[in-house]
């Protein structure tokens, strides 16, 4: 064997590497820095070669590929969504991604994206809230208290100045775990027994669920004028976090309409 070209060796960032990176930078700093990149990319949105996700559905979940390119760098993410996994001791979502050089087609970086997906989703939500939520909003209802909800809350604190989070999950153990993990975050954390209790006094309502059973999380009469809703979980048919009536009387902002319409 001759020695392979340096281009034949693709650096890999493992989950362990990424956790070390997050711990060394600090999660709030990392979320703020990510938000800056997200915001900068929205400003050059037209440059990107965008396509709806390429999804392969089964009875128990979905596997998706999400490619894009800005003409110089090409990237895609592999991500699954299997809500039943948690009951089997596995994660709902795992992800990895690849970066490649458009000019040569050669891969240049392979990285875990399970953590990155959580961070990027949270940072993007916070960028949206920064521009769209009522001025001075400092209280958020967080409905759905899985792993993602913790990162969402930290991003809202780091980027939007959130002071209070009001937690609700249909599984009280999820709320308890989330509250425990957020205990040292410098936030006022309130455990709630119903969605109605969670939204009391909140200017920002975040729904963060993975259920595909057409469950409605926010009904029409729960949502008054002037609140900002951050609906994360409703990204596939059967995921109906918001009653249709809420959408029809709201200003709706989405990232990529062809994907949202699916």
């Amino acid at each position: 064997m001759t020695t392979p070209s340096h281009k034949a060796l693709v650096p890999f960032v493992s989950v362990d590497n990424m956790m070390q990176l997050v711990h060394s930078i600090g999660i709030e700093t990392m979320l703020r820095d990510l938000a800056d990149y997200v915001e900068a990319d929205f400003k050059r949105w037209e440059l990107f070669d965008k396509t709806p996700r390429v999804a392969s559905h089964s009875d128990v979940g979905v596997i998706e590929l999400m490619p894009t390119s800005d003409g110089e760098a090409y990237g895609f993410k592999y991500v699954n969504g299997h809500p039943k996994n948690t009951s089997e001791g596995l994660q709902t979502v795992t992800a990895f991604g690849l970066l490649a050089d458009v000019y040569t087609g050669y891969p240049v970086l392979l990285t875990e994206m399970t953590l990155l997906t959580a961070l990027r989703t949270a940072a993007t939500s916070a960028v949206a809230a920064k521009h769209l939520a009522p001025k001075g909003a400092d209280t958020m209802a967080m409905i759905g208290n899985g792993a993602q909800s913790e990162v969402q809350t930290l991003a809202m604190k780091a980027i939007c100045g959130l002071k209070t989070v009001r937690l609700f999950d249909k599984d009280p153990a999820a709320t308890e775990k989330c509250a425990r993990n957020l205990a040292q975050a410098g936030l006022n954390v309130v455990r709630c027994k119903s969605p109605e209790e969670a939204i009391e006094g909140a200017q920002i309502l975040t729904t963060c669920t993975a259920d595909k059973q057409s469950a409605t999380i926010l009904t029409d009469n729960m949502v008054g004028a002037g609140v900002h809703i951050n609906a994360i979980g409703g990204d596939w048919p059967g995921q109906t976090e918001l009653a249709a009536g809420i959408l029809s009387r709201s200003d709706v902002f989405v990232e990529f309409p062809p994907q949202t319409r699916i």
Copy 2:
């Protein structure tokens, strides 16, 4: 850190690993075994969740994702096509792929597919020729003598009993290299100076070029009745190996019509 679950560790097959595998099994045996899998999969074709390739084009090449699933295993391939790469000392095609478990969405294998793509393409061509080429065909014209042409030729020998290959490339150095690499393969290797010379007496014509400059390799008057054409390179707009007239008077067999129509 707790020790990660064994599901968190995904085995990786490098190019070096794959070369060792090919050498240890023997390339002709490997091609025959691959051909058996390819044939078995064509017999259960309806089971697969098929989609056209997801392509990202640039001025100098294309990067594609090719996902599929049979309901139990999900797989995708990342592959680029950059004809200009060879002039820069790089490969036209590099590829890798992932296998995942549909039930959990978890990746189970990451593998190089640069070599696998070459082997699979060659094995599939040979499966097609086995069923479609004239009985007793033992001479092939190979037009386009890059790296892929060697594997194509070996597959035709291993699976279809090829005895003679007639090589032509617009770059005589490519023909020379291919002939040299096939010298020990137990074949009669003939170097030709034109496409017309290459096709003399050949019952199988294989075009294996990567040019997107709308060059026609086989013109209408070059191809008589009863020959089997194996057109590998014509898989994107601008890749026009065959004159349209040849297609209109031939029986045409393709793998996946929605992809072929693109």
